[in-house]
Amino acid sequence: MNNQMPSTNDRPTLISVSDLTLAFGSRVIQHDVSFEVKRGSIFAVMGGSGCGKSTLLKSMIGLLRPRQGTYMVGKDNYWSGDDQSRIQIGRRFGVLFQSGALWSSMTVGENVALPMQMFTSLTPPVIRQLVELKLGLVGMLHAIDQYPSELSGGMRKRAGLARAISLDPDILFFDEPSAGLDPITSARLDDLILNLRDGLGATIIIVSHELSSLFHIADDGIFLDAGQKTAVAHGSPTWLRDHCTDPLVHAFMHREQLDTSSPHENG
């Protein structure tokens, strides 16, 4: 079966995950997941709803200790170090949560400013200017003084994105950045993501269902299956669409209905 894209990329590996097993209590969500992310690439995590994409992301940003396996960021083994070393590595991360996860007691502007106040010695006027820049990039400058509860779902997403890039991290994790956005904003977001990669040299790991945007931006990826509870295919979304023979991946990539006799059921 053809489910592994031949490597064409000679950039150095930045993140390498091997044999990762993720579980909540006794319930295994995914097992033996392995993949590598090249520096400066946009890596897509794909799969049906509830298959464990957010869970994988959670363990990559340090919120869920995997049951087994190793997770290397550069030369550091993320989960074998102590809290302090994890925080050190985490300084390189920027995360957009699926729900935005803005701090509700602060305005949008303060949300973006807080990490800078905490971890840099910038003066307030400079911070203000940077906050305006980040919010401008995601088209949220008009909402700088609003509270998260006053925003729509899509606006919260965009504000969360601005906060994720507040410390100019070199590794970005986005959980469904374009869900809930209109097509134009979504296309703008794609451009922003490409610019973050090209301009800042960021490496981006993105969970998304938005096929059109994935085909456009992602250059590598992994496909998780809820039935087999593991990764069933590796490759860029375009490659998976054109070459992958796994019936589930094929159906996903072509927006087809799966043959009901297939063993893959998201029960």
Binding site: G90, F93, F97, W103, S104, S105
Partner: protein, 378 residues
């Protein structure tokens, strides 16, 4: 669909020459009444290899209740290895049925409940000890954050401290005042009944003063704050948990102990002694009002007697007590909020638990203080 049909939903299984016909008739509308159920055994009679077909000429309007019936039928057919001719159904019903899985997941049987009192008590003890450890660890982390804040390298925002201080302090003045006033007045009432018999009315003043300063003000204020502020802290933090806000803090490496917990605990630990002092004064004033109106004690006499009865170390003791109560309520309610689940119900549970633990804990701590006071002879 036959719109001229009226009547209750009905079905019938008819064996024919070389097939079995299922006739569906009537209106299958869930809201209009009982929908027949398809019995498990109905397909047992059917001869192997013969198809089951549907006749829907008599079928009126239908909604998902028909689909639910057919789904059950389809699963029975699958089990009995009967060939069901789905294409004899209306097209739209056929399509809806195709969306449904053939074998829905079996509900998990609930875990058997073992009655093991010894194990349960042991588990409870371990959990409690573990909790005490966690709360102390959190307290130490917060204290370290506090020192860092003192030397100007803290992660606490002054705004947050100010917000918490004003919520715990000025905003609580009214209720703390009312409660302590009434407690003072009640003490005066109760005392006056006995003291009047001995013509010792003036000693009502010392009774109220000692009781308020030594016990009542500190405990009453702490109970009010446990209900008011402790519950609020637990609810706030567990809501943040549900919104992934705590996750976001962790990802940025912002320590929850000094960013979130320190201002809350500091606010309570600072305001509680002040509220205690305020409660003492208001309580004594309450006692005075009753004495003045009922026993006609002179204001000057009451004031003099109060001063006589109160050595300063009583205040010091009460001060220390309220500081400890405040810290305790702050730490436990934050811990309960952090440990809570992520659903809306969990927020309610956390708030309730924080109040209960706060009140019980304050009274238990007060008992410990009483023993200590006895030992050192205050």
């Amino acid at each position: 669909m036959n719109t001229s049909v009226n009547g209750a939903p009905q079905w019938q299984l008819q064996p024919e020459a070389n097939r079995t016909l299922v006739t569906l008739s009537g209106n299958w509308i869930a809201q209009e009444g009982r929908i027949p159920e398809f019995p498990d055994s109905a397909l047992k009679e059917i001869r192997q290899g013969e198809p089951v077909e549907f006749s829907t000429d008599q079928l009126g309007r239908w909604d998902t209740s028909l689909i639910s019936f057919l789904w059950k039928l389809k699963r029975s057919a699958l089990e009995a290895h009967v060939d069901l001719r789905m294409d004899t159904l209306p097209e739209s019903a056929h399509k809806l049925l195709d969306l449904l899985p053939e074998n829905p997941p079996q509900p998990q049987p609930p875990a058997p409940h073992h009655f093991a009192p010894v194990a349960a008590v042991g588990q409870l003890t371990l959990d409690t000890l573990n909790e005490i450890g966690c709360v102390s660890e959190m307290g130490t982390a917060a204290a370290r954050g506090g020192f860092a804040a003192l030397v100007g390298r803290g992660m606490m925002r002054t705004v947050d401290l100010m917000t918490d201080l004003s919520a715990a302090g000025p905003a609580a003045l009214l209720i703390v005042g009312v409660v302590n006033f009434l407690v003072g007045a009640i003490l005066a009432f109760v005392g006056s009944v006995e003291l009047h018999k001995f013509a010792a009315d003036i000693y009502v003043a010392s009774l109220v003063a000692i009781a308020m300063v030594r016990e009542m003000s500190a405990v009453m204020t702490a109970i009010i704050m446990a209900g008011r502020t402790g519950g609020a802290y637990a609810a706030r933090i567990s809501t943040m948990q549900g919104n992934e806000e705590i996750d976001a803090l962790q990802v940025f490496g912002i320590p929850v102990s000094s960013y979130l917990i320190l201002p809350s605990v500091l606010a309570l630990a600072f305001t509680m002694p002040l509220l205690y002092l305020y409660g003492c004064l208001i309580g004594m004033f309450g006692g005075f009002c009753v004495s003045y109106i009922m026993l006609h004690v002179s204001p000057l006499g009451y004031f003099h007697e109060t001063l006589q009865a109160l050595p300063l170390d009583q205040f010091t003791f009460g001060f220390i007590k309220s500081f400890v109560f405040g810290t305790f309520i702050g730490l436990t309610s934050c811990r309960i909020g952090l440990k809570a689940g992520r659903s809306a119900a969990d927020v309610g549970i956390a708030a309730t638990k924080a109040v209960v633990v706060g009140i019980v804990g304050v009274i238990a701590l007060d008992a410990v203080f009483a023993v200590i006071a006895n030992v050192i002879g205050i």
